[in-house]
Structures are given as C-alpha cells and as structure tokens.
C-alpha cells in the first residue's frame, strides 16, 4: 500500500494536471458558405485543439450551445466574407468565448487567433507578389526553448509531483506511526525504559527514510523513465544527496506533528493541512513569481518548494552542485530546525 499508492498517483496525476488545452468545443456560425470560409473551418478543425460542436448560420443557436455548456467558443464568419476579403482586402471575424473556465477560454481564444492569423498570411501570400525589396522592415521573433525543447508539459510536472508524493509519504507515515504508539500505549512502555531520545527518534526516522528513498527511486527510474521518457540530465549523486536531506527534513515535520498530536485523527488532519500547502504553495503547478508577496513568503518557507526547484534544475537542466549550493544550505537548515523542534518537544516525562 505504501508503495503502490504513490506510484499509481504518479501514473495518473500528470495526465490530468496538464495546462495544455485540447478538445475545445467550437461553434461556427457561417453566414458566408464560401470556399474561403470552408478552408478556414477545416484549418481550425485540423489543428487538433478544436472540436466542431455545432455548425450553423444563427448566432442565437450557437449561443444556446454555450448556455448548454456544449460549446466553449463561437466563431462568427460574416456574410460576404470571401467577397469583401478579395475586394477590400480586409474583413472582420467575430469571436465569442465562454470564460467560465478561464484557462480554457483564454488559451482557446489565443489558439483561434493564431490559426486565423496564419490563414490570413497564407492567402495574402497567394495574392501579393513579393516585392523585390522589403519595403517595410520588420522584426521577426523566433523563440527557441531551452531544456525542454518540445515544451512537453510532463517534463515539468512529473518530477514535481514525484517530490510532492515523497513529501506526503514521509510526513504522513512518520507522524501516524508514532501517534499510533501513543494510542496503543506502547510508547509508555518505551518511555519507562532507559532508551535515549535520539535512539528512539533515529529508530523511527531510518525506516521511513529508506521507504522515501525507495518510493522516489521507483518513481524516477521506472515511472518517469519508462512512462514519460524523462532521463535526468544532471548528476544522480547530487539529486540523491539532496533527496536524503529533504527526507530528513520532511520526516522531522512528521515527528514534530506526532509530538503534538494525541490521536491519529489529529495527526491526520494536521498532516493534511501541511500537505495541501505543500502541494499548492510550492511552485508545483503555479509559478512562484506570480504569487502575491505574502504567498511568495509562505512558499519560500516550504521545504517542498526547494526540492521541486532542485529536481527540475537537476533533471531538466543538468544543474550541478554549485548551482544549488544555496538550496542545500537551506534544506539542511530545515532538517535541523524541524528535527530539533521535534526532539525538544518529545518528552519521555509528562
């Protein structure tokens, strides 16, 4: 169970947690029914992003489709689209977007604009003889994407999700395990022995540390590699060195929770609180730079944030130790702080 659940999550979550918007339902209102309008429509449907939900000649009807949530976007092609385009060299198209799902709407609008612009260029090229000299100087921008050339979203999200899962396994299991001993009463039997605090805590940390290492390795070498084709560009030594410190920090959090909680329910709800923050305020899904100041500060005090950055830097960019030296120092700080607090708060005598 400990191993299967995170691996399953790693298989499923990245497929769903994807920014790329596909299958946008489009309603096209065509008042023109010309060759050009047909060409434009086939361009749109062939792009792969849009699905033709409805094709008709009434805007009202298309709007109904949006109201019924069957369609996300309307493209209205005016009457005499072809005629005016040829005669006056210009024409206007109308796009209406259902903005309930903001991401889908804005991306859909952008995609559609791009397709129309590309189509526009195509027909202009057909008509206009290119002049011998470029009369209007123009700057053309071409971008090249480094470290993830194909902008494959999985490269970005899979390592991040793996980190979040390891954090979850570590903090949850560790906290629950000790609180269970409180509930069953075995901890009292331990507290009455001359065992040293640090012996007890090490005895609790080491097994979960190994479990965390194992889960991460399976995720990285099996799931990420074979399912998503992610091969780390950087040094595995650096990655694992960081992982081992990260695990100590996160297990320290689990320990700390367990020293406060009396029952497994308490431990669960506190751990869940932290897991939510870990997931949503770590730059896993959203960029840290886009956060308001206060949220940025919280995200910067979240150990998971640093490990997600490191994982992405090492796996995608191939960053070495010197690039993430600060991250190392900060993570050692977290590990020391959390475990220190846990040991300080763990009392054999009440």
């Amino acid at each position: 169970m400990i191993f299967i659940a995170p691996i399953l999550q790693l298989l499923i979550l990245p497929l769903a947690a994807d920014y790329e918007v596909k299958n946008i339902n489009i309603s096209i209102v065509d008042h023109d029914h010309s060759t050009y309008s047909q060409q434009l429509i086939s361009k749109i449907t062939a792009s792969g992003y849009f699905q033709l939900a409805d094709y008709g000649n009434s805007f009202q009807q298309a709007l109904e489709q949006i109201e019924k949530d069957k369609s996300d976007i309307i493209l209205e092609i005016p009457d005499r689209f072809e005629e005016n385009l040829i005669r006056e060299n210009a024409n206007e198209l109308f796009i209406a977007v259902n903005a309930i799902n903001g991401v889908k709407a804005s991306l859909g609008g952008v995609y559609l604009n791009q397709i129309i612009a590309a189509y526009n260029n195509e027909i202009r090229l057909k008509w206009i003889q290119p002049p011998k000299y470029n009369t209007v100087p123009s700057i053309e921008i071409t971008s090249s994407y480094w470290f993830n050339q194909l902008l494959n979203y999985h490269y970005f999200i899979v390592p991040g999700i793996l980190v979040a899962l390891v954090a979850m396994v570590g903090s949850y299991l560790c906290a629950l395990n000790i609180v269970k001993e409180k509930e069953v009463g075995t901890i009292e039997q331990i507290n009455v022995t001359p065992i040293k605090k640090y012996h007890f805590i090490l005895g609790k940390l080491i097994p979960f540390w190994i479990i965390g290492m194992f889960v991460f390795s399976v995720g990285l070498f099996v799931v990420a590699r074979f399912i998503y084709g992610i091969v780390p560009a950087g040094s595995l030594w650096v990655l694992y060195a960081f992982l081992s410190i990260f695990l100590i920090a996160i297990l320290g959090l689990g320990l700390l929770i367990s020293t406060f909680a009396e029952t497994q329910q308490q431990a669960m709800s506190v751990a869940f609180f932290f897991i939510m923050i870990f997931m949503l305020m770590s730059g896993l899904f959203t960029s840290l730079d886009g956060m308001p100041r206060w949220a940025y500060i919280i995200a910067r005090s979240n150990p998971v944030t640093y490990f997600i950055e490191v994982v992405r830097m090492v796996i995608l960019k191939g960053s070495g130790f010197s690039d993430i030296k600060n991250h190392f120092l900060i993570m050692i700080g977290f590990a020391g702080l959390l475990n220190g607090l846990a040991i300080w708060n763990y009392r054999k005598t009440s």
């Binding site: 009292e188 039997q189 009455v192 022995t193």
Partner: protein
C-alpha cells in the same frame, strides 16, 4: 534487622490544575517485598505509580527510587525498574520472540544473554509453539504473563505492575502470582496495584489510597486487626466508603 529501603517518598504530590490527584503521599517500600498499592478507581494509584516510574513529573514532594532522585536521575531510575501498564503495551505486530529481543535489547542485554533469557522465558511460560506468532494472536492472559516476564527480563531492582490481572481468569491469575513470587524470590521488589482483595492478601504489606491520600499502610494481618474485620475486603470497603471523588481519573 535493618531493611533496605528501595522506594521512599516524602509528601509526593501531583496536581492537574485545581485537581490534586495524589496529595502528599509518604511511604517506604523495602527491598524484596511485595507491596500492594490499593485504592478505588480514581484514587490516584496510577498517577502515583507513573511518578515513581519517571513517566510523570511530580508537582511537589520528593522521592528516591532504588537510591536515585526522582527529579534528577530519571534515566538511572529507568535502568533499575520494570513497568507493566494497565493497558497491554507490548508490540502486537511483533512476534513473542521479537518483543522479548526488542525490550531486552533496549535494556542493553547482550545477544548471548538475550538468547539464554528468551529461551528460559519461553520455557517457563510454555510458549514454545507460539514464540514465532504475533503477540496480537495470543489470549489476554498469556499476553499479561508475557508482559510481566518482559518487564522483569533485565532483572530490575523494582517492578511496577499496574492492575496486571485485570480481566484475566482465576487460573491465569494464580499462575500470574506464581510468576510474581518467583520474581520476588530473586530479590526483585514488587509494587503492584490491584482491585482483587484476595490478591491483596498475597502481599507482604499493603497501602490503601482514598482520594489521593494513603489512609492505611501495614501488613494484611495487622490491617485486619486494626479495623477489626476478618477480610481485607471489608477493610477496603470501610475506607473506600469515605471517598468523595467518583470520577475515574488517571
């Protein structure tokens, strides 16, 4: 003959807010004796015992256990005592043998000692067939006997037993007391709480706690004379009736 004192308390008190769980208890326990610590539910027995074991810090008063100070030398105390709580508290998800080895290991027994001890223990308890079984699968009576044996595995000076025979049938209780006598013969001081008055009669001396205070302390024979009754049961009843507390506080 001068008796060696192994537990000595002086006005030992534990308060939880306004509530005084144990109120200035003062007594001595001698080496090698079986000391019965009696009292109704909520009288403060478990609280007192937890303070003596170093699980709970006293609010005031002093005590020495096996010659060690209860405030400053809790770790030395822990090396010299065994403890068996009300709740069964060996690891149910470990086997009999694993539990013995785990707790023996904590007390620093060597592998050789451990092997010898665990074989002896399993023989005495007749658990040869069960030694590789999970403790969870044993009946309660067997678990209690095992817990006691584990508590005295490291041959402590004193062993504290908190209602060790609760919920156990009479035959097992008898066997349990045989184990207690065997331990006492080895020189281990037994400090035991119980609700069974017949068990109280087995003790060398008993104390009876009422509302956080020790109301009586003597040998069972002397107590019966003092209260002019024929059984400890009646002594207990006469004293416990004075109690004003009713809630079951631990």
């Amino acid at each position: 003959m001068i008796k060696e004192v192994v537990i000595k308390t002086d006005k030992l008190t534990k308060r939880f807010g306004d509530f005084i769980a144990t109120n200035e208890i003062t007594f001595e326990v001698y080496a090698g004796e079986i000391f019965g610590f009696l009292g109704a539910n909520g009288a403060g027995k478990t609280t007192a015992m937890k303070m003596l074991c170093g699980l709970s810090r006293p609010s005031s008063g002093n005590a020495t256990i096996a010659g060690f100070d209860i405030y400053k030398q809790t770790e030395q105390i822990k090396r010299n005592i065994g403890y068996m709580s009300q709740k069964f508290s060996l690891y149910e998800d470990l086997t009999v043998l694993e539990n013995i080895q785990f707790f023996g290991g904590i007390y620093g027994l060597s592998d050789k000692q451990l092997k010898k001890k665990s074989n002896e223990l399993i023989d005495i308890l007749g658990l040869q067939k069960e030694s590789k079984k999970l403790v969870a699968s044993l009946p309660l009576g067997w678990k209690q006997k095992l817990a006691f044996s584990v508590a005295v595995l490291h041959e402590p000076k004193i062993v504290f037993l908190d209602e060790p025979t609760g919920g156990v049938d009479p035959i097992i209780r008898r066997q349990f007391w045989d184990l207690i006598y065997q331990a006492a013969d080895k020189g281990i001081t037994i400090f035991v709480t119980t609700h069974y008055m017949d068990e109280a009669e087995y003790c060398n001396r008993i104390s009876i706690m009422v509302d956080g205070v020790i109301e009586a302390l003597d040998s069972p024979i002397n107590l019966k004379q003092q209260f002019t009754t024929s059984t400890i049961d009646e002594v207990f009843y006469k004293l416990a009736r004075r109690a004003k507390r009713t809630e079951n506080l631990k």
